[in-house]
């Protein structure tokens, strides 16, 4: 029996005898072979936007911030902070779409997990960039190390985010070790340095039983670790707001509210990501309609959870309409931000909670359209959480210049925000050009183990 398992493991993963596996490998390594015209245009576009962002940042830091950014004393946190919250939320995609599904034995996670983890790593890095862009004195970042004090929620956030980045990177990398060996052995026509890189990163992987055992073990430990860490990063990010005395953030609901919003964003982000990836790399056989169907259902569930927390967050204080909350809440419901607010409710909650209930709308295209709406609404949702309340402090704002009352992000700010998006997409794109974006062995393993959901691909 023991002997048999040993042999089967060997045949499963290392000897490429099975036709199906060979075909799979061909399909999944294809994106690495050649970058077509549109691929180049896309990368060129992303690089351009990133460079524009770098230039905008250069202007911001060399010129007066009073001129380059629209922030003023009352609205002192702007799109950089709301963008930071958005990216932290997006990075929870790795927790949900990889770790949670894996641990709960939803076999359809297999082709999704690496996509989710790359997005998670990219997003959390750009969250860090957003924060640095928001700092008045970025060159003093090292003060956090030298003078850091544990009672500040910022220090908590830095600690959990750094832990999460590290864990996510390792969790992304370890399942890639067998893929590196595959690349090393089967990829041709690549420059020497690239092959050398694969060889180095494969760490002498031979696919022995002991190697598989320790690989699976470490993946399991990391997968379990990454869940509380993911919940922690977003909860602590919520605490950056909830630990202040401001009425609009003074909520015990905030941590859970943020995490549930992040899970909704995670599902929507995944839908958009696999739609693009399957079209761009012809991976319809792996990212199937079944995935959209399941993600559509997940979208409904996550929307309802998020709606639940939104009711707690807005309607309960609105019922009381205490003087402290009234000016902020009325501003959202019927005031300056009302159109914004209700659009976010519609596209970010109501539509994803209802439309995907219709099976036809869980097909790739309609679901992706819904998901794009959710992602955009999610970005504006963070904007609405962070910014409008700042213009409604306890003591009235009086006798200030017009720009102090109303915040509209400047061109410089929006360029930097656009660049953070471009950079995340660039990270995912470049990753998919150097490494298989779908884990060959994980998909193969699922198929060979006869896991129903994988078999039902066809």
């Amino acid at each position: 029996m023991e002997e048999k398992i040993k042999n089967s493991e060997k045949t499963t993963y290392e000897t490429f005898t099975q036709e199906e596996y060979m075909e799979m490998k061909r399909d999944l390594l294809k994106p690495l072979e050649k970058i077509g015209l549109w691929g180049k245009v896309w990368i060129g576009f992303l690089v351009t936007v990133c460079l524009l962002g770098v230039y905008a940042y250069y202007i911001q830091e060399t010129k007066s911030k009073y001129v380059t950014v629209s922030l003023r004393d009352y609205t002192m946190w702007g799109v950089y902070i709301s963008n930071f919250v958005f990216f932290v939320a997006l990075s929870l995609i790795g927790v949900l779409m990889s770790a949670v599904l894996k641990l709960t034995n939803f076999e359809w996670y297999r082709p999704l997990s690496r996509i989710a983890e790359v997005i998670a790593v990219g997003a959390i890095m750009l969250a860090g960039v957003s924060i640095v862009a928001a700092m008045g004195r970025p060159e003093r970042l090292w003060h956090l190390v030298v003078y850091g004090r544990i009672q500040s929620p910022i220090v908590w956030d830095i600690i959990v985010i750094l832990t999460y980045v590290t864990t996510s990177l390792i969790l992304l990398f370890i399942p890639m070790i067998p893929s590196m060996a595959t690349l090393k052995n089967h990829l041709t026509g690549k420059p020497k340095w690239q092959m050398k890189m694969y060889e180095l990163l494969s760490f002498g992987w031979e696919g022995t039983e002991a190697q598989w055992k320790s690989l699976k073990r470490s993946i399991k430990i990391l997968t379990i670790m990454v869940i509380p860490l993911g919940v922690a990063i977003h909860t602590v990010t919520a605490w950056l707001f909830a630990t202040t005395l401001r009425a609009e953030w003074d909520s015990t609901n905030f941590g859970a509210y943020f995490v549930s919003g992040a899970f909704l964003l995670g599902v929507a982000g995944m839908v958009v990501a696999i739609f693009v990836i399957r079209k761009a790399y012809n991976l319809e056989k792996y990212l199937t309609e079944m995935h959209f169907d399941k993600l559509g259902m997940a979208l409904v569930m996550m929307s309802f959870i998020y709606i639940y927390f939104n009711i707690n967050e807005y309607l309960v204080p609105a019922y009381k309409m205490s003087g402290l909350h009234a000016n902020h809440l009325l501003n959202l419901f019927v005031g300056d931000e009302a159109l914004f607010y209700w659009m976010v409710v519609l596209f970010g909650m109501v539509i994803p909670a209802t439309l995907p209930l219709i099976p036809k709308l869980r097909k790739p295209l309609p679901l992706t359209v819904i998901a794009v709406g959710v992602v955009i609404a999610a970005w504006f949702k963070r904007y609405l959480i962070v910014i409008p309340g700042l213009a409604h402090p306890y003591l009235p704002i009086q006798d200030v210049p017009e720009s102090w009352r109303h915040y509209t992000p400047s061109l410089i700010e929006m360029t930097i925000v656009a660049a953070t998006f471009a950079a995340t997409l660039l990270i995912v794109t470049l990753f998919s050009r150097f490494f298989p974006i779908i884990s060959v062995w994980e998909v193969a393993e699922g198929k060979l183990e006869g896991k129903d959901e994988i078999i039902n691909y066809k």
């Binding site: 911030k65 700092m135 004195r137 003093r140 956090l144 910022i154 707001f241 006798d399 210049p401």
Partner: protein, 309 residues
């Protein structure tokens, strides 16, 4: 047993009397030489005012007040020893003359629209009478701003002041988000302000810890500690033509607006002093006296001061 209790009661009474006596004298800026023999001479001279109004120099060991030499070794992070600064704002006296705002701006080298002290029109409800509300940093005893600072760039000092170390501030603005009174201001590097600051960088006779307010850092009202340590009142206090703002030392139990001096405890009791948003638990060091029996009728301001970007 009974005797002992009586004895201790009498002793307490005597102590109390002694304390009260000392406090009264200190309140007037006088410190007598009751305990002269108790300490060794330090050789440092301190100026004091005698009961008959003469300024004399005495050895610093004779008084609790630190010598000027000590005060000149002023450290931003440490409070002035033996002080607990406190402010009382009499809303019945404020007529929105805005002299406090201007005095503060010139003292700190700030151009409008930056105001460390603001005067706001407040009306608590429709039927309630409107009043002018001068607002500084409240130097809270439970400051929400210092709690959240990741690098200890803003801190509570022993003399009650919430200070800022502009050399350390990283500009995350978390303290501004945390302050429920919007008392803090950020130096965004407004060109006019930068030019002005540069021009006046070496002016003597200006206060304070935030004199060096740097671009990309937070600053705010700091009770002008460098002046206060020398016994000079903050400029918002001296500039006010109506004597609205009182400043003093909680330990001396006295506050003054430069012309009138009150016993702090008495003033707060008689005039029902209160602190803004007591329910937030921030424990401000600025008390307000309600706008009753006003010195002036309320006149709405028609002029705007800070419309220029």
């Amino acid at each position: 047993m009974k005797n002992e209790k009586e004895d201790s009661n009498r002793r307490n009474f005597l102590k109390l009397g002694l304390l009260a006596g000392t406090a009264t004298l200190t309140g007037l800026g006088v410190k007598n030489t009751l305990f002269a023999n108790a300490k060794e001479e330090t050789g440092e001279k301190v100026k004091v005012l005698t009961v008959d109004g003469k300024v004399v120099e005495v050895d610093s060991s004779l008084v609790a007040h630190p010598s000027e030499e000590k005060l000149s070794q002023f450290n931003v992070r440490e409070g002035i020893p033996g002080k607990k600064f406190i402010m009382v704002i009499d809303l019945a006296r404020c007529a929105n003359a805005r002299k406090c705002v201007e005095g503060c701006q010139s003292m700190h080298g700030m151009l409008p629209p930056i105001e460390y002290i603001k005067v706001k029109k407040m009306q608590d409800s429709e039927l309630a009478a409107p009043y002018w509300f001068p607002q500084t940093c409240y130097q809270c005893d439970n400051p929400p701003c210092t709690k959240v600072c990741p690098v200890d760039a803003t801190f509570k000092r022993s003399d009650g002041i919430v200070g800022i170390d502009s050399d350390r501030c990283i500009g995350c603005k978390f303290c501004m988000a945390a302050c429920p009174y919007s008392a803090r201001t950020f130096n965004f590097g407004r060109p006019e302000q930068q030019a002005f600051s540069e021009e006046h960088a070496h002016d003597a006779d200006k206060c304070c810890t935030t004199k060096s307010s740097q671009e990309g850092t937070v600053s705010k009202c700091d009770f002008c500690p460098e002046s206060s340590s020398k016994g000079i009142l903050p400029s918002c206090v001296t500039e006010c033509p109506n004597g609205t703002i009182f400043f003093g030392d909680e330990l001396e139990d006295a506050v003054t607006n430069g012309e009138e001096t009150f016993r702090l405890s008495e003033l707060l009791t008689k005039r029902a002093g209160y602190r803004q948003f007591e329910e937030l638990g921030t424990k401000p060091r600025v008390y307000y006296l309600p706008p009753v029996e006003r010195n002036f009728p309320f006149e709405d301001a028609t002029e705007v001061f800070n419309q220029q970007e």
